[in-house]
């Protein structure tokens, strides 16, 4: 017998053991895989967001030697987009397009110069379509040219950049050589300001188109349109700049003074004059868009100035140098500023945040220029060209600019702004997450304000007062509400509810008040009815009767609301609100969201609260009732406190849902990233923002990475809130066991 048993064991056990082990490892693998994939998701999201705040370095340092002959007469040079070809500007006016790799001149252009006229200064700007090269001559002229770069590829996919130079404008501004100048040239007009060798500042503006200026004889051309701005200066001017308004000129002097003129109705008006410091100002750099400028001085300081209401305001200081600033450049595509001091120290900083992005040292140089697409700095001495290449991908973002107030161009004060894209290239991206976090909290707040009382009262009603038969119908019905796709709710809210809400707004506000009043007034009447009939308060009849009563009260609310709107608010509550309180009523506002998102949140809070309330041990309820407590007292004093952690956890999970909710807020908020608690205003949430901006965000761009950062924040929000909810729930479960 014993032997028989052993035989059976031997047969069964290996197989059972195998099954046990297999099950164990499958479950372990499944669990591990889930945890791993969550961590991987967080890791990859983080990986995309981290480069926003990384520090930059010089990617490559290249040196090229040119022929002595070529480099002899150069007064300036301009790189192409790839730092492969340079356009040399010679003293005698010759423009040579030189390939760094082959060391050969590919293209030469010689503009027509006057007798004994030489080129003394040059500048390059981004024009409407093409880059513009402008030359200042010894005889007081500015000549401008359109640079047409053409990109070709050979059969080996090697890049070939060709250049064609087309003369554009010629203006005479002075009798003396033009040392420095600033120029705005486009299809409609030409505006220039110059500093000549006689230390005089001259301003020129013409609305005529370029061909006409060109065709006029040089002597008479627009000389009468030149204004001399030098009268106010005590110290010799050092640099000049032109604002995008085209009639505002700024100048700096050796004595540290700054001047701002406006040329209006053929008159020069000195708008502002002040002394920044005792230090000589070396450089005025108009930032791209010409809305603001950076002043660099002999002391090595760089200050950003905004023009606000015709007034220059010092906004922030950029990283300071130990030595006087020799050269400074704006970024053409990015909001960056590069300054080089006399010892060859280079600092690149963000003009938006003032953060230092990169610093490095270059060799001594005679000529220097900044790469056209902000990807390098090129310096030139004798016949050696040094190229430092770098790629500052996200200059506009820093922790500070993301989470604190920033004073942006064109703003009256520092603000939190989310404005990811603008109409123009020189737009300054404003990527503060605060308005979005604010919008998320606002939407959640109004949704919870709406959902909380309804869900909890419903849970108390269903769990404590409702007949079980009715409860078995009502509870699943409310739970099905949770399965309603939020896109449907959002669609209803945005396209059906929002347009109708403003006309019945007063009624909607009155309805809950009426409901509370009537629930206070009805019970005595109810008692009377109950005595005479067989209707029980707990029975189905009660709820069946309640529904038409609620509908009647709602209808009464609407009628009363219309009456009040017509009598007290002169026919339109929203107009009255705007006129008397200055509150603007947006059609898609927080109230709509409160209602729509409330409907998404109610089933969650309701289900969890109802479970918590129903699970309060029956012996506690009996104990209370046996002491003579009414059902209501028992519910309020024993059941509710015992279930409160569960209700709290339900509310938390509801909040988590509201924070992460996307479709409803996307469709019914208007997505305005403003910071205003007003219930009648819209907002933009983190989640909706991600959905809205995805099509606008090129992969790898600042916005793209910012969206990843906001998804991390969103994840953190819901993670924290759900963790709190879960911890409370676990504690509650333990507590129920003890009860």
């Amino acid at each position: 017998m014993a032997q028989f048993k052993n035989n059976i064991r031997k047969k069964i056990e290996p197989f059972r053991k195998f099954k046990d082990n297999a099950a164990k490892s499958i479950f372990a693998f499944g669990g591990f895989f889930i945890i791993l994939s969550i961590f991987l998701i967080i890791f990859f999201i983080g990986k995309e967001a981290v480069p926003l705040f990384k520090s930059y370095q010089v990617d490559s340092n290249k040196n090229f030697l040119t022929d002595k002959e070529i480099s002899e007469n150069i007064i300036d040079f301009y790189p192409d987009e790839y730092n492969e070809n340079l356009l040399f500007v010679n003293k005698d006016g010759q423009l040579n397009f030189y390939n760094l790799n082959t060391g050969k001149i590919k293209y030469t252009y010689s503009p027509v110069l006057l007798e004994n006229e030489t080129i003394v200064s040059s500048n390059s700007f981004a024009g409407d379509l093409d880059r513009i090269l402008a030359l200042g001559t010894s005889s007081g002229r500015i000549l401008s040219f359109k640079l047409k770069f053409k990109l070709k590829y050979t059969s080996n996919l090697d890049r070939i950049v060709d250049l064609m130079i087309i003369p554009s404008t010629s203006i005479t501004l002075s009798e003396n050589a033009i040392i420095k100048f600033d120029l705005i040239e486009n299809e409609e007009s030409v505006t220039a300001v110059v500093l000549d060798s006689n230390k005089e500042i001259k301003f020129f503006h013409s609305e005529e188109n370029n061909e006409e200026i060109l065709s006029e004889s040089l002597e008479t051309s627009s000389v009468n349109k030149v204004y001399n701005l030098t009268t106010n200066l005590r110290n010799p001017p050092t640099d000049i700049g032109l604002y995008f308004h085209k009639n505002k000129v700024v100048a700096a002097s050796e004595g540290g003074e700054i001047f701002l003129w406006s040329i209006e109705n053929n008159q020069v008006v000195l708008l502002q004059q002040f002394k920044l410091s005792e230090n000589q100002i070396n450089k005025i750099t108009m930032l791209s868009g010409r809305n603001s400028m950076v002043i660099s001085d002999q002391n090595g300081s760089n200050f950003v100035f905004f023009l606000i209401n015709n007034n220059l305001l010092k906004i922030r200081e950029l990283p300071k140098h130990e030595h006087p600033i020799k050269n400074a450049f704006r970024g053409n595509l990015k909001k960056i500023f590069t300054s080089v001091d006399t010892k060859g120290n280079v600092k690149i900083s963000s003009t938006t945040s003032g953060k230092e992005l990169l610093n490095f040292k270059i060799k001594d140089y005679d000529l220097i220029n900044f790469a056209f697409k902000d990807i390098g700095l090129l310096s030139f001495q004798n016949n050696n060209i040094e190229i430092n290449e770098f790629d500052i991908e996200h200059p506009e973002t820093s922790l500070k600019s993301t989470f604190t107030k920033v004073w942006y161009e064109g703003f009256q004060q520092p603000e939190y702004v989310w404005q990811s894209a603008g109409g123009t290239d020189d737009f300054e991206p404003k990527l503060s997450l605060i308005p979005l976090i604010f919008g998320t909290l606002k939407g959640t707040f109004y949704a919870v304000i709406f959902a909380l009382p309804i869900a909890i009262l419903a849970a108390i009603c269903v769990s404590q007062f409702m007949a079980p038969r009715l409860k078995n119908i009502i509870k699943p019905v409310i739970e099905i509400m949770a399965a309603l796709p939020s896109v449907v709710l959002g669609f209803l809210a945005g396209l059906w509810l929002a347009p109708r809400l403003d006309s019945v707004l007063v009624g909607v506000i009155i309805f809950p008040i009426l409901l509370i009043l009537s629930s206070l007034a009805l019970p005595p009447i109810w008692e009377k009815i109950k005595e005479k009939t067989i209707i029980k308060t707990e029975g189905i009849q009660f709820f069946v009767i309640s529904i038409p009563i609620i509908i009647i009260i709602f209808y009464l609310g609407l009628v009363l609301g219309e009456f009040i709107e017509n009598t007290i608010f002169f026919g339109s509550f929203t107009d009255w609100l705007y006129q008397s309180a200055g509150v603007n009523y947006d059609q898609r506002n927080a109230l709509v969201i409160g209602i729509a998102m409330g409907f998404a949140v109610i089933p969650i809070i309701f289900t969890i609260s109802e479970d918590a309330l129903s699970n309060v041990p029956q012996h506690l309820v009996s104990g209370s009732l046996a002491l003579g407590a009414s059902k209501w007292q028992t519910a309020l004093k024993v059941v509710l406190p015992s279930a409160s952690p569960g209700i709290f956890s339900g509310v938390m999970i509801g909040i988590g849902r509201a924070i992460g909710e996307t479709m409803i807020v996307l469709m019914a908020t208007g997505n305005t990233a403003i910071m205003d608690w007003d219930i009648f205003n819209g907002f933009r949430t983190l989640a909706a923002n991600i959905a809205v901006e995805i099509p606008e965000a090129p992969v790898g761009g600042s916005l793209y990475r910012m969206l990843f950062l906001s998804s991390i924040i969103l994840f953190m929000f819901t993670f924290i809130i759900n963790s709190i909810a879960e911890t409370v729930r676990i504690k509650l479960r333990k507590k129920y066991k003890e009860l």
């Binding site: 009996s622 104990g623 209370s624 002491l627 004093k637 507590k735």
Partner: protein, 251 residues
């Protein structure tokens, strides 16, 4: 001899199942009466009829009559709150509320609208003394009731029940979850309490019934089989079924 409770032809249905079958019983004032019988015999159900706690259960239908001090407690004009204040109850499992010891005792008074602090203090002390718990908890009245031991919790529930000064005290297997020492204490308390209260106790433990009760009712399958003085039931039952149960032949 005054009869505190008169039960006349009491039948109770859970839906269609008849749980109590025409029970007729008179319970004497200031005595303790025990209901004994095997599980499912309806003794707890009968007890719960006395404070109408069965009303909570859906589908319960009651026929017959229970009068307490001459009033039919199933009359529609009866206020349940008043009834339950007069008929206190202690449950099988101690069920202190998730409140402090003090608040547990004061609960019944507070829901009755008594807010006077000195009155509450007085009642709390008196009730705890009445339940022989005062000395053990007087220094920690504001601590949670869940900090007490099982026996203490049960005595707290007794104190809570007597705080509202009922005339009748129902006890549904009050010692079944307690260890022998705690049981002895509670039994001692029951003997003490019957001077002031009419006690009805449901118990599984026949020794307990014989120790604490003056009268014993033996029930079987919803029927009252025999009701008499405890001595008689245990020493000399007149019905064979009772004898079989008491001598442990079934149940």
């Amino acid at each position: 001899m005054s009869k505190a409770i008169n039960i006349r032809n009491l039948s109770l249905y859970y839906g269609k199942a008849k749980a109590l079958k025409e029970v007729t019983l008179d319970i004497e004032a200031n005595k303790s009466t025990a209901f004994i019988g095997p599980s499912g015999c309806g003794k707890s159900t009968l007890l719960r009829c006395l404070n109408r706690l069965n009303d909570l259960i859906e589908g319960v239908k009651i026929e017959g009559e229970i009068t307490i001090s001459g009033t039919n407690i199933y009359d529609p004009s009866i206020d349940l709150t008043n009834l339950r204040r007069n008929v206190g109850m202690v449950f099988q499992k101690s069920n202190p509320f998730p409140l402090s010891i003090y608040e547990n005792i004061a609960y019944g008074l507070k829901i009755a609208g008594i807010k006077d602090k000195s009155k509450l203090d007085h009642v709390v002390e008196k009730s705890l003394k009445g339940a022989a718990l005062w000395d053990e908890v007087k220094d920690r009245l504001n601590e949670s009731a869940y900090g007490l031991s099982g026996g203490q919790q049960q005595r707290l529930c007794i104190a809570r029940a007597i705080a509202v000064e009922p005339t009748i005290l129902l006890m549904d297997e009050p010692c079944s979850a307690l260890d022998p020492i705690a049981t002895a204490k509670v039994e001692e308390l029951i003997k003490e309490l019957k001077k002031d209260y009419t006690i009805v106790i449901v118990t599984h433990n026949m020794q307990q019934a014989s120790r604490v009760s003056d009268y014993t009712a033996f029930m079987f399958l919803g029927e009252l089989i025999e009701f008499d003085e405890t001595k008689t039931i245990f020493m000399n039952p007149s019905i064979q079924q009772t004898n079989d149960y008491i001598s442990g032949r079934f149940g």
